[in-house]
């Protein structure tokens, strides 16, 4: 990912998997948006509020995630996101498909 040329090839891959990465983070443990960002920060999926918030909103509309308001000691209540049953199903579907893709790619060279 050092050069632009390389990045332009990898970006679409990363972008396509961001949704799955977010679902994966929430599936492990319920999280605030800030937790999700922090968790992704050290990975290639590092992103920012400007991208994450609209994505979370879409996932909620799709029924994959849900949230509840949790009071915080410092400041207003915040949204605490968790995965729904559908969300777990979606995540499984995505993971399986990713595996299929990986296997297919591997087999192509044989």
């Amino acid at each position: 990912m050092d050069t632009n040329a390389e990045d332009s090839k990898l970006t679409p891959l990363r972008k396509g998997l961001l949704e799955m990465a977010v679902l994966k983070v929430i599936s492990g443990k319920e999280a605030y948006a800030a937790d999700i960002l922090e968790r992704l920060n050290d990975t290639p999926f590092a992103t920012q509020e400007g991208t994450l918030y609209p994505l979370l909103s879409k996932l909620r509309r799709d029924g994959a995630v849900t949230y509840e308001w949790v009071e915080s000691e410092s400041g207003p209540p915040r949204k605490y996101y968790s995965l729904t049953k559908d969300g777990h199903a979606t995540l499984k579907q995505l993971s399986d498909y990713l595996k299929t893709l990986q296997t297919s790619i591997n087999n192509l060279s044989k």
Partner: protein, 309 residues
């Protein structure tokens, strides 16, 4: 010294330096435009505002309560550009090393209402071909003359079918410019603030304000002097009064006279007590004698009246 604007994000009030406010406003306006087609637009904007507020908190302390421009710039950098779902979203790394050629959105013809004369067809065409609007207008007029009026017909057909650019994305497509990054937003906001500051309107307004301010200052100073004089007079009056009062008091109630008064009173009370103590019997005798005299007088009187009948 800078003016401060107070805003609230997620129900919490923040004080922003003037330039800082403009930059933040520009960021949120752009976010709103990008999310125009998102059903949860308002909710996302609220979330974004809350996140911004949370980030701003780290720049505040007990003895610093105003957010400066560099701080807002930093926060906006951290937030990243708002990417509508389904559009070309940008991630952190991509934004920092964006490759213009591959990231540009498709060009699309829009009518642009900013700077329009009739309906924004010419401004849209100018943006599309990246040429001066005036040139487009002249061409249109020439076309109309040369074609005996067909140009006008073409114009009105375009008014009917060419959509108006409304969202930030539309404007990008209309001109074929790359998606706006946070830095550009900041620069743009800064520039418009500078332009406004340098504009004549602003200057004359500031001039008036300055004059008014001076006038006001003068009045204030006059009032202050008056107040000071009044205060001084009042103060000396009170002082004199106090002095006079104290003098009178000392004249009539010196410490010596006070002690003398107390001594006299004590003496008088002890004398009365001593007198009563020694002469109770005497008083009793006196009163009983008086009583006897009274009784004998009454009986004597009764006898006289009785025998007289």
């Amino acid at each position: 010294m800078n003016k401060v604007t107070t805003i609230h994000l997620g129900g919490v009030a923040y004080q922003l330096e003037e330039g800082a406010y403009d930059v933040l406003r520009a960021y949120l306006d752009d976010a709103a435009a990008k999310l125009a087609n998102d059903p949860d637009k308002d909710e996302i904007l609220k979330d974004l505002e809350q996140a911004i507020g949370f980030k701003l908190n780290s720049h505040l302390s007990a003895n610093k309560n105003v957010i400066t421009l560099p701080e807002v710039e930093q926060v906006i950098q951290e937030m990243g550009p708002v990417a509508a779902e389904g559009s070309d979203s940008t991630s952190k790394t991509e934004e920092s090393e964006s490759t213009p050629t591959s990231e540009w959105p498709h060009k699309k013809l829009y009518r642009i209402r900013e700077g329009q004369m009739i309906s924004g067809v010419c401004t849209g065409l100018a943006a599309y071909f990246n040429i001066d609007v005036t040139l487009v207008r002249i061409l249109f007029v020439l076309l109309t003359i040369l074609t005996h009026g067909v140009g006008i017909l073409i114009y009105f057909v375009m008014v009917m079918i060419v959509p108006i650019a409304r969202t930030g994305k539309d404007f990008e497509q209309a001109a074929g410019v790359p998606p706006i990054t946070a830095q550009e937003l900041i620069d743009r906001a800064k520039k418009s603030v500078d332009d406004f500051k340098n504009s004549n309107e602003w200057k004359s307004w500031m001039g008036n304000l300055h004059d008014e301010h001076l006038n006001w200052k003068k009045q204030q100073r006059a009032y202050k002097m008056q107040h000071k004089a009044w205060k001084q007079a009042e103060k000396s009056r009170w002082k004199a009064e106090a002095r006079r009062y104290r003098g009178e008091y000392q004249e009539h109630h010196s410490v010596v006279s006070e002690i003398f008064g107390i001594a006299c009173a004590t003496l008088a009370i002890s004398f009365v007590l001593w007198f009563l103590n020694g002469h109770v019997a005497l008083i009793h005798d006196f009163f009983s004698a008086l009583h006897n005299a009274y009784e004998s007088f009454i009986s004597g009187l009764a006898g006289v009246l009785y025998h007289g009948q």
